[in-house]
């Protein structure tokens, strides 16, 4: 599966990564090589095999629906790049 620079631009947008035009060709080559490696799995017939999501086939553990954590908003916001009045600040989204 050969990817070209327009594929890389599309993937980078989906992943929200500002890949510079200068890096696109290099990433296209690297990603193509990795996908060639991945394609080796196509040699194995997996018809009828159950997909495995968890090594021990564990199901999600449930707990009673009550609050277990105290509110630590101030501590968590202390490490944020920009906050105001308990809110995270980002560039204006709606004009």
């Amino acid at each position: 599966m050969a990817l070209d620079r327009s594929d890389v631009e599309k993937i980078a947008h989906l992943a929200r990564l500002a890949v510079s035009p200068a890096d696109c060709d290099r990433y296209a080559l690297d990603l193509t090589n990795i996908l060639d490696l991945v394609a080796q799995m196509d040699a194995v017939d997996t018809t009828g095999v159950e997909p495995m999501a968890h090594p021990l086939h564990m199901t999600q553990r449930l707990r009673p629906d009550h609050a277990t954590e105290p509110n630590q908003r101030d501590r968590f916001q202390a490490i944020a790049p920009q906050t105001e009045a308990g809110l995270y600040l980002v560039p204006k989204v709606i004009e």
């Binding site: 991945v38 021990l56 630590q72 989204v93």
Partner: protein, 484 residues
């Protein structure tokens, strides 16, 4: 003092041969003197370490000391430590100070361990050479022109160079075992779910597992004893009793059935490494073990399947780094999309971006069945191979890594060549099985690791089997020149 194992250090502290403050100062002095050449530490926490050591000395005097009280260790910089920077080897988290401790950190602190600092690592644990770190590569103490392995390369180098008594690591595709092999130390990746992942920065959540990196299997047993166990804060933590690992170390090996997968001894394996592994297996036969040839026919699937599953989970886990709540934020974003895209492109290095893009691609609309679903089915076949093997044998042995430590820079331009370093270690992660690497030889002065894979929750047996070899051989006692 640094030439002693943790077991010996604990005894020295208990009888008062030295205090934890003396021991901690001694390691801090070694770090100050020897770390600049190795770059094994990202952050050294001298002040808090000495304060913890003073408390440890009080506990020892009061007779309330635990198994690890006063012993100086280091944490891989992937474990959150309250008040002490946790960078994950990334510019993204260069200034990140976690508001809480990881469960593993909390448990080791409760057992009395003193934290000297945080060790270098491949960025977000993505790498096999410790060269993808934002803080620069770690040098292998056995040859400073070579890599220590990765991603827990800083922990492995620090333990091998005697800059700490032991360290924590994490293993998603070999990141404890491969650097342990390349640096000549003992490293165990427990069963998936054995140690809590809470507070351990996530890379691939169905594969990530924490474990100890130490000089000997006995030391690894002491550490794992404190690290392992159920944690309600980790939804995949297993509620399975933790046996007494130390008590089981000396169990006799008569009748132990060792499986040798024919797929692990073929093309691509250095002949001298193969001979070293065979020599270790002969020692086990001498101790009463029997050897059975087994097949793991789906082994060739491991690397391809892993490079779908791990990047897919990585792209999802790393979506949280958005420049909004914590971590790196770009300057002067013109809108929200620009904020996300530039913060992430500036914060992540090339290997992390490659893996995020592969993961994004394989999970994108129209490709899911061909990649992710196919990989999950392949994963099942790999796990089934092991299930069948463990009907015939107790442990599986083979090389940890196809080569010894390679030169810095040798594989950085070829991601696929780098990925193939983990050809023998990845399958255990995909199946969720425990594995240990112990040093069993040196080739051209560089350590060779023997990998022992066990059945689910059979860490005790792995430590026992490793310890029995270390009782009869001295490979684990080797010290790199300049670090004696």
């Amino acid at each position: 003092m640094h030439d002693q194992t943790m077991t010996e250090l604990a005894a020295g502290l208990r009888v008062g041969t030295f205090s934890s403050r003396e021991l901690t100062r001694h390691y801090l002095e070694r770090i100050a003197r020897l770390n600049p050449a190795l770059n094994a530490f990202i952050t050294v926490a001298a002040e808090t370490a000495l304060a913890a050591a003073a408390l440890a000395d009080q506990a020892i005097a009061a007779g309330t000391a635990g198994a690890l009280t006063g012993i100086p260790i280091a944490h891989k910089d992937i474990f959150c430590t309250a008040g002490l920077r946790t960078s994950c080897g990334s510019r993204m988290l260069d200034t990140f100070i976690a508001p809480y401790d990881a469960t593993v950190v909390e448990r080791l602190a409760a057992a009395g361990a003193v934290v000297l600092g945080k060790t270098n690592m491949d960025e977000f644990a993505m790498g096999s050479s410790n060269e993808t770190s934002w803080y620069g590569p770690v040098k292998n103490p056995w040859d400073e022109t070579r890599v220590p392995g990765g991603s827990s390369g800083g922990s492995a180098a620090a333990v091998a160079a005697r800059l700490c008594a032991a360290a924590t690591g994490t293993d998603t595709g070999g990141s404890i075992r491969q650097p342990a092999a390349l640096c000549g130390i003992t490293g165990i990746k427990p069963t998936y779910g054995r140690c809590s992942r809470w507070g351990m920065i996530a890379f691939a959540s169905s594969l990530d597992q924490a474990g100890p990196m130490a000089r000997t299997a006995a030391d690894a047993a002491l550490l794992l004893q404190a690290m392992a166990g159920f944690d309600p804060r980790d939804s995949t933590s297993m509620d399975t009793p933790v046996p007494d690992y130390v008590a089981g170390l000396n169990a006799d090996l008569t009748g132990l059935r060792i499986g040798l997968p024919k797929e692990y001894f073929g093309t691509g394996l250095d002949e001298r490494i193969e001979a070293s592994i065979q020599a270790a297996i002969r020692e086990y036969e001498r101790q009463g073990a029997t050897v059975v040839e087994i097949g793991l026919p789906n082994s060739p699937l491991s690397v391809p399947v892993y490079y779908v599953v791990a990047p897919a989970e990585c792209s999802s886990n790393l979506a949280r780094f958005d420049g909004v709540r914590y971590g790196h934020r770009c300057a002067d974003p013109k809108d929200l999309e620009d904020l996300y895209k530039r913060s992430r492109a500036e914060g992540f290095g090339a290997e992390v971006q490659r893996r995020i893009m592969i993961g994004t691609y394989v999970l994108s609309a129209g490709y899911y069945d061909a990649y992710y679903l196919k990989a999950q089915k392949g994963r099942h076949l790999i796990a089934d191979d092991f299930r069948r093997a463990f009907e015939q044998v107790d442990v599986i042995m083979g090389p940890t890594s196809p080569t010894t430590a390679f030169p810095i820079g040798a594989k950085m331009d070829d991601p696929v060549a780098m990925y193939l370093n983990d050809i023998y270690t990845i399958a255990a992660n995909l199946a969720g099985l425990p594995g240990i690497s112990i040093p069993v030889a040196a080739v051209d002065g560089l350590p060779v690791g023997l990998q022992i894979v066990g059945n689910y929750f059979d860490e005790g047996r792995l430590l026992n089997v490793a310890h029995r070899l270390q009782r009869e051989t001295d490979w684990h006692l080797g010290v790199p020149v300049g670090f004696e």
